[in-house]
């Protein structure tokens, strides 16, 4: 168990957690039409940072890459108003990303030792941790689309081991031609704004963002509504490297394990922040997993229609929104939802509504067959 001491989302929908939560609750979306990938291609729908967003950070432009700037801006957004000792020896930085600086390859640079060094995920992590004055070697998790969820679980374990008091968990990924072209090659991109858990869903929107959650071993001193990360679990389908399991059995097991470790039953879950990427296979698999683990009647939401699929950041962005859902007492809508999918329709809302919420479940799945589940609970 670890306590949420601070958080931030830095995204095209806003650069504070509160602003992004309000936007998502209001049903807004940053997913828009953009130029195609290759000459002659049709448009691509994605959630991208607004033009010139880096100008707001003039002192950093040129020293760090866009990916690193997203991380720095989010960590600063989370911690600037706090008394957290980021440079302390007992503070560890844990990062989540799938591709780091891969956008650098979009410009077709010459492959050199210098480029290889810039592409190192661990080196980017070190540069960001050093920027905040922390001398510990940061931990970097790269577990495909479960990275954000996995990083939070890793951080919780590091705190539980007694090695550290505070973990700054930050994740980011950018939208690049490299990644867009790959998902297009998979025919996994939606033809418009994606439609999570809908009968007519046809693929994903990619998104870029950064998010941060600061976890502490001790509860925060201030007497404000607090959320704890109660538990988590990771599993693998052992079935296919890019397609999810047809049964959802391994995600269900991760959900069950996480609930058991938190001392909670399926009945006590108040809402689920799903992975909900809007691919035909993922959403069907998740619905099966929810049924297997007994949470299929719980309110479910996916924010992939609002912010796109932010890959390594997704688990963190969506966990911050889950934390706020708990503290604000508000069930989030699913932008893009159209018609219920069959045969296992879920409880999806198209508008936000107030509710007394105590326990939230966050799920994620990714290439390589990995699955992750986290349980957040109000203290």
């Amino acid at each position: 168990m670890a306590y949420v001491a601070a958080h931030n989302i830095f995204s095209p929908l806003g650069t504070t957690s509160a602003a992004v939560f309000a936007a998502v609750a209001a049903g807004r979306s940053a997913v828009a039409e953009h130029a195609g990938i290759f000459p002659g291609d049709g448009p691509v729908w994605a959630s991208r940072m607004p033009e010139g967003w880096m100008q707001a950070l003039p002192e950093l432009n040129g020293t760090f890459s866009p990916f690193e700037l997203l991380l720095i801006a989010s960590i600063r957004g989370a911690t600037a108003q706090t008394a957290l000792a980021l440079e302390a020896e007992r503070t560890i930085f844990v990062f989540a990303t799938t591709k780091g600086n891969i956008g650098l390859l979009d410009e077709n640079p010459e492959v050199s030792a210098a480029l290889v060094a810039k592409l190192s995920l661990a080196a980017s992590a070190r540069a960001v941790a050093r920027y905040f004055g922390n001398a510990n070697t940061p931990v970097v998790v790269s577990n495909a689309c479960t990275s954000g969820v996995a990083a939070l679980l890793v951080a919780q374990r590091l705190l539980a081991s007694g090695q550290y008091d505070t973990a700054v968990v930050a994740g980011a990924d950018t939208v690049s031609r490299f990644v867009l072209s790959g998902f297009q090659a998979f025919q996994a991109l939606s033809t418009g704004r994606c439609r999570p858990f809908s009968a007519d869903r046809d693929g994903i929107n990619l998104g870029e963002a950064a998010a941060t959650i600061v976890l502490t071993a001790q509860p925060p001193a201030a007497a404000v509504a607090t959320v704890r990360l109660a538990s988590g679990a990771i599993s693998n389908d052992a079935n296919h490297i890019s397609g999810p399991s047809r049964t959802g059995a391994e995600l269900a097991r991760a959900i069950g394990q996480a609930l058991a470790a938190a001392g909670l039953t399926a009945a006590e879950v108040d809402f689920i922040s799903a992975h909900g990427t809007a691919t035909p296979y993922n959403d069907a698999m998740e619905a099966s997993a929810f049924a297997l683990s007994g949470v299929q009647t719980k309110p479910v939401h996916s924010v992939k229609g609002a912010l796109g699929h932010t890959l390594g950041a997704a688990g963190l962005v969506e966990s911050v929104l889950s934390v706020l859902a708990l503290t604000e007492g508000c069930l989030l809508p699913t932008v893009g939802y159209s018609q219920p999918m069959q045969p296992t329709p879920l409880q999806i809302a198209t508008a936000a509504r107030p509710a007394a919420l105590r326990v939230g479940l966050k799920t994620a799945s990714g290439f390589g067959g990995c699955n992750g589940a986290l349980v957040f609970a109000r203290v």
Partner: protein
């Protein structure tokens, strides 16, 4: 588990050679990883054509796991889900990323290649081959840190999350490659080393 975990076995692959527990078990071409991988795979005499679709990093991991886990069966409930894979890596999937980027530069994009542009795919391939469904984690680090890895994995044992774990280091970029895998779990032989940073570091550096 009741007693502290032991270091059960190790497998190292480097410079065209495969070692198990320090003993050389295979040597192949040293000038080209792809040629080495093919000859090492053929020497296994197993039926697994999926191997040929893998990228070099996945092939390296597959070979190391095949040797490390030889004779072991994980496909039973209570075993599969309580077996973990925790690996560390320096260059992510950069070897394949560069190949894929070169395709994109030509206006092409192969989904069969793109799927390997993530460092944790090698973990997925090992899970599929051996039926391992438990905790799986891929860490990025500039250098292998045995102490950090041992602390993390030992913690998983202490919290009863896993009963055995495939762990270690795997990295490949161009013709520079190294796999260092080891298996941790319950072991009754008194000669088995305890699972400590020192015992792992010793294996890594020999």
């Amino acid at each position: 588990m009741n007693s502290p975990p032991k270091l059960l076995r190790s497998c190292s692959i480097q410079n065209g050679t495969i070692w198990i527990d320090g003993a050389e078990v295979f040597t192949g071409p040293t000038n080209d990883f792809a040629a080495f991988a093919t000859s090492a795979f053929r020497a296994l005499t197993i039926d697994y054509p999926k191997f040929y679709k893998m990228d070099n990093l996945a092939k390296l991991g597959f070979l190391a796991a095949e040797h490390l886990l030889a004779g072991l069966n994980f496909r039973t409930p209570g075993v599969a889900d309580r077996t973990g894979i925790v690996l560390a890596n320096a260059n992510s999937s950069l070897d394949t990323d560069l190949r894929y980027a070169a395709q994109v530069q030509q206006g092409l994009a192969s989904p069969a290649l793109f799927v390997y542009t993530l460092p944790n795919i090698v973990v997925g391939e090992v899970c599929i081959r051996h039926g391992i469904t438990g905790e799986n984690m891929l860490f990025e680090a500039e250098h292998y840190d045995a102490a950090a890895q041992v602390a993390y994995v030992a913690n998983l044992f202490a919290h009863n999350t896993i009963d055995q774990c495939l762990s270690g280091w795997i990295d490949l970029l161009g013709q520079e490659y190294r796999a260092f895998f080891y298996l941790v779990g319950a072991g009754s032989q008194p000669t088995l080393p305890d699972y400590t940073a020192a015992s792992v570091e010793t294996l890594f550096t020999t």
